[in-house]
Each structure stands twice: as structure tokens, then as C-alpha cells.
């Protein structure tokens, strides 16, 4: 049986990104959804499937006035939205629903109407990590990197170059939070957050949201925007504890989700015109390139430092400026997906030319989970 193709037919971010103190988190979801409805020329009445993370699908569906016949509340961190795309694909292909809305909204900076992180002293993290003084992602997500540096010769300068290159992309994006060019010296001279990570190697903290609308390809031409077809998807989880990663130099979830998505899509590395790798910190693109197989693990730092992912390079990566320069609300995966859709549509601020295939790799938690989506301008 050949399953129907599925495409993104509506995509939008919140009207404003950055500092948006005038909106609650739930309203950020709704603002993005309303913009995506406008982009697709539909209303909430046309939606019968809802997926979200950060808020419950119940809260989002009720707030928007949707009566869904399919919901997905998978919440495994910032790559939840990639995984929602994968789940929506299956639901649409099997007729469980016809039109899916995926929303993200997060008042990461302003904290308006946002639930707090509750520590639980009897969880495994509470017993075996929290007592040692980790203070959030900058002191945990970063923990494996010295091992990578020793094993594979990654240098401090190469790590800094990740931020430098992404700022080059951000300079071309009027919506990016930081657009002024930076040098390796600027990065290495910025405030130390958690050795070996400096401020400019850590993501932003901002407010914002985004939404996607998916439907089957037979309906895709009824919508005003060019469809972005879903060619392949993958997902996996590894561990909620950074200390328990199987290999400090590789994300097991990346290496399951990424290759699976590319295999499903039937593409090779040479087919990829554009790449997004969720960059909460500067080492993420290095791990992602290696786990996706774009280069040898020991070459990943040099691959970026030598300009392969930069403007003019053969593998343009994180072309919105990424979490390091564009925006990062907390669960950034939605913005990576939005940029892939823009590149496929051909209307990205830093458009990479005719983009036939875009690979979008997300991370959840701190190397805890991954979702990957391969988009195409043409169906498979």
C-alpha cells in the first residue's frame, strides 16, 4: 500500500519575537496559530488535529476553539515539534484526521503565564545530579564537551567559530535578535559562563512562538503557499540525565533519529541543500554534523571553522542565525522547522538559492531526545 504524501501548507511565527511582555505563554501559541491560519487561508474550524508541547493540547485546542479528533501532547523538550510532525504524518496518512495544527509558544524571557520548573529531590536527577550544583542548561548541556575536545582535538577557537558563523547568517535576517558581526576573539573574550563556554557560545533567552499546519498532498494545492513536503522523519530519546549519556562525544538520539529520517526520505548527504541543527549551545552543530554523518567526528569543528556551513558554503546551516543569534525561547525546535519551511518555499531572509531538500534536526532536554524532519520542494 502506498501511503499518501503529507505537506506543510501553513507556517508562521508570532508577530513579534524577542521581548514580548504583553502576551501570556498561551497567547503566544494562539498568536502563532492565527498567523499560520492566515498563511494557509483557513480558520480554526478547518483544524481537526492538534499537537503541542509546553502547554497541553487541551488548553491550546480550547483556547483557539478547535474540536479535534486527534491530539498529541508529546513533550520531550525543544524537539517535540519535530516529533509532532512525525506523528502527524502517520495520523494524516492513515486518515485519523485531515488537517493538523502544531503550536509552540514560550514566554522564556518575560515569564508571563508560564509554569515554573519544579525540582523533585527524589527523582533520579534530584538524587544524583542536582546536589552537585548544576544551574540549568549552561552548566549541564555543556558537560560533555571537554571530553569531545580531548578525544577529537576540537579547539576553543573552533567552538567559538560556530557562534561567529551563525552571526554571519543572522546579519542577513532582519528578525534576528543579534546581527552585528563578531570575531573569534569577541567570543573568547565574552564573559565565561561555565568553562569552556563563554556567553556568546550560549543561546539567547527570548519570547516567541510558531505554528505549522499539515495536510495530505492531494489537498496541498488548495492552499496559497507552496507546499513543503515531508519526505522523511525520525525520533528517539536517550536519557534525562546528562551524566548518563552512553557516549559523551555523540548523541544517541541524534544518531537514531537523523539517519532514520534521511533513509525514509531516500536521500543521500549530497542531496541536502540546507541544514538546521538545533543549537542551544555552540557544540550542538558539531555533534549534529557528526551524528548525521556529514563529516567524521574529528573533522566537525574544522568543517564549520572552514566555512562549509557559512554563507557561500556548500552546506548552509542554521541560516536564520540559530538559537545563538536569532532567538531561543526555551524549546527552539519550532523556529528551526519554520526556517526549513521558508527555505523550501524560497522566501527566507537569507535564502540559499533553490532549496530542494532541507534537513531539520532537533534536540530535546540536554541530549535527552531528538526529532528530525526532511522537507522537500517536491513530493517523494
Amino acid at each position: 500500500m502506498s501511503l499518501p504524501q503529507v505537506a506543510v501548507v501553513g507556517a508562521a511565527e508570532t508577530t513579534e519575537l524577542g521581548k514580548v511582555p504583553g502576551m501570556s505563554q498561551l497567547q503566544l501559541h494562539a498568536d502563532a496559530a492565527l498567523n499560520a491560519f492566515a498563511d494557509a487561508g483557513i480558520t480554526a474550524r478547518d483544524i481537526d488535529g492538534v499537537a503541542t508541547a509546553g502547554e497541553s493540547p487541551t488548553a491550546v485546542a480550547h483556547y483557539l476553539g478547535i474540536t479535534p479528533s486527534w491530539v498529541d501532547g508529546t513533550a520531550v523538550g525543544g524537539c517535540s515539534f519535530m516529533i509532532h510532525v512525525r506523528h502527524a504524518l502517520a495520523a494524516l496518512q492513515t486518515g485519523q484526521c485531515k488537517t493538523v495544527l502544531i503550536t509552540h509558544g514560550e514566554s522564556g524571557r518575560s515569564g508571563i503565564g508560564r509554569g515554573g520548573f519544579r525540582g523533585n529531590a527524589s527523582s533520579l536527577q534530584g538524587q544524583f545530579e542536582t546536589p552537585y550544583g548544576p544551574m540549568g542548561p549552561p552548566t549541564m548541556f555543556t558537560l560533555p564537551v571537554l571530553r569531545f575536545m580531548k578525544e577529537y582535538g576540537l579547539s576553543h577557537e573552533q567552538l567559538a567559530m560556530v557562534a561567529v558563523v551563525q552571526r554571519q547568517w543572522a546579519a542577513m535576517n532582519p528578525r534576528a535578535t543579534f546581527r552585528d558581526p563578531i570575531t573569534v576573539e569577541d567570543v573568547l573574550n565574552s564573559r565565561m559562563i561555565a568553562y569552556p563556554f563563554h556567553l556568546l557560545e550560549c543561546c539567547l533567552v527570548t519570547d516567541g512562538g510558531g505554528a505549522l499546519i499539515l495536510t495530505t498532498a492531494d489537498r496541498a494545492d488548495d492552499f496559497p503557499q507552496p507546499p513543503a513536503y515531508i519526505l522523511g522523519t525520525g525520533e528517539s530519546v536517550e536519557t534525562p540525565m546528562i551524566s548518563q549519556m552512553e557516549n559523551l562525544c555523540s548523541s544517541r538520539a541524534f544518531s537514531v533519529a537523523g539517519p532514520r529520517a534521511m533513509a525514509d526520505a531516500g536521500i543521500s548527504h549530497a542531496d541536502v541543500d540546507h541544514l538546521m541543527i538545533y543549537d542551544a549551545f555552540a557544540h550542538l552543530p558539531i555533534y549534529g554534523l557528526a551524528d548525521l554523518g556529514f563529516c567524521e567526528r574529528g573533522d566537525a569543528g574544522a568543517f564549520i571553522a572552514e566555512g562549509n556551513t557559512a554563507p557561500g558554503g556548500h552546506l548552509p546551516t542554521n541560516t536564520n542565525g540559530g538559537g545563538l543569534s536569532y532567538m531561543h525561547s526555551g524549546m527552539y525546535g519550532m523556529y528551526a522547522l519554520q526556517e526549513s519551511v521558508r527555505q523550501i518555499r524560497g522566501n527566507a531572509p537569507a535564502q540559499v538559492g533553490s532549496c530542494e531538500v532541507s534537513v531539520c534536526l532537533g534536540v530535546g532536554g540536554m541530549f535527552g531526545a531528538s526529532g528530525c524532519v526532511v522537507f522537500g520542494r517536491q513530493p517523494r
Partner: protein
């Protein structure tokens, strides 16, 4: 202010009884010999429930770390959050004591020895110091 104090569960009680007695206790599978951490009453390698608790050597090596500059109520000045590879195989998070918290002093793969800090009547926390004979 002191460190956040762990609250044991039935599955981890033996570990915290061990640290109170000055032992770092791990678990080994009777069926496949896999040694694992954190504690649980079954083997994550083969799903067997036939597992036994044993006292580890307390020796390990520094696998990776960061030196946090973020303020924390239980720490003074920059402090290292470390990953320690135990001699028996498992890895755990910890802090390195009796050692300057600098990249120069904290050398990857340096040998470490467990030590315990009493946090409460119930909880002693395993920490690591440079092994005897190592410069700190």
C-alpha cells in the same frame, strides 16, 4: 545554605545507606555481569531482576567537567561540576574537592578517589578528590 538534599526512593535506599557507611555501592547483574548506575532493581542491559548490590572500589577518573561561574547558594566562587568514570564502568556526576577549581588543576583522566560529605543524618553525598599520590 547547603546543597539540595536528595530524597531516597525504595529503589535507591541501598545507595544512600552505603554512602552513610562510607561505601559507594553499585549494582551488578547476576545474569549478564553488567555493572550499572543509577540504582534500579533490574538490569538495564538485559532486563533481568536478578541483580546484586556491591561496594565499588571508589576509584575513578575525571571524564569531563564544566566550571560554573553562575551563582549558587551552596558554592563559593567558580566550582566544577564533574563527570567521573568509575573503575567498574558506570559514570556519575560529582564535584572534585581538595583541588583548585581551574582548568590547569582539573586534568581529564586524572585518577580520583571517592570521599563523602555529610549533608544530613540520612544523606552523605559522594564526592571525589585527586587520588593519593596525585598533585592537586
Amino acid at each position: 545554605m547547603s546543597r539540595p538534599i536528595p530524597v531516597p526512593t525504595p529503589e535507591t535506599a541501598h545507595f544512600w545507606e552505603g554512602t552513610r557507611a562510607g561505601e559507594l555501592r553499585l549494582q551488578r547483574c547476576d545474569d549478564c555481569d553488567h555493572v550499572y548506575f543509577p540504582p534500579r532493581p533490574f538490569c538495564p542491559g538485559c532486563s533481568s531482576r536478578a541483580v546484586a548490590v556491591f561496594a565499588a572500589s571508589g576509584r575513578g577518573a575525571l571524564a569531563s567537567y564544566v566550571i560554573s561561574e553562575r551563582p549558587h547558594p551552596a558554592f563559593e566562587g567558580p566550582y566544577a561540576i564533574a563527570l567521573v568514570e568509575l573503575e567498574e564502568g558506570p559514570r556519575m556526576m560529582s564535584n572534585i574537592v581538595e583541588c583548585p577549581q581551574t582548568p590547569e588543576a582539573l586534568v581529564l583522566d586524572m585518577p580520583l578517589q571517592v570521599t563523602f560529605e555529610t549533608l544530613s543524618d540520612e544523606i552523605s553525598l559522594p564526592l571525589f578528590r585527586p587520588a593519593d599520590g596525585e598533585k592537586s
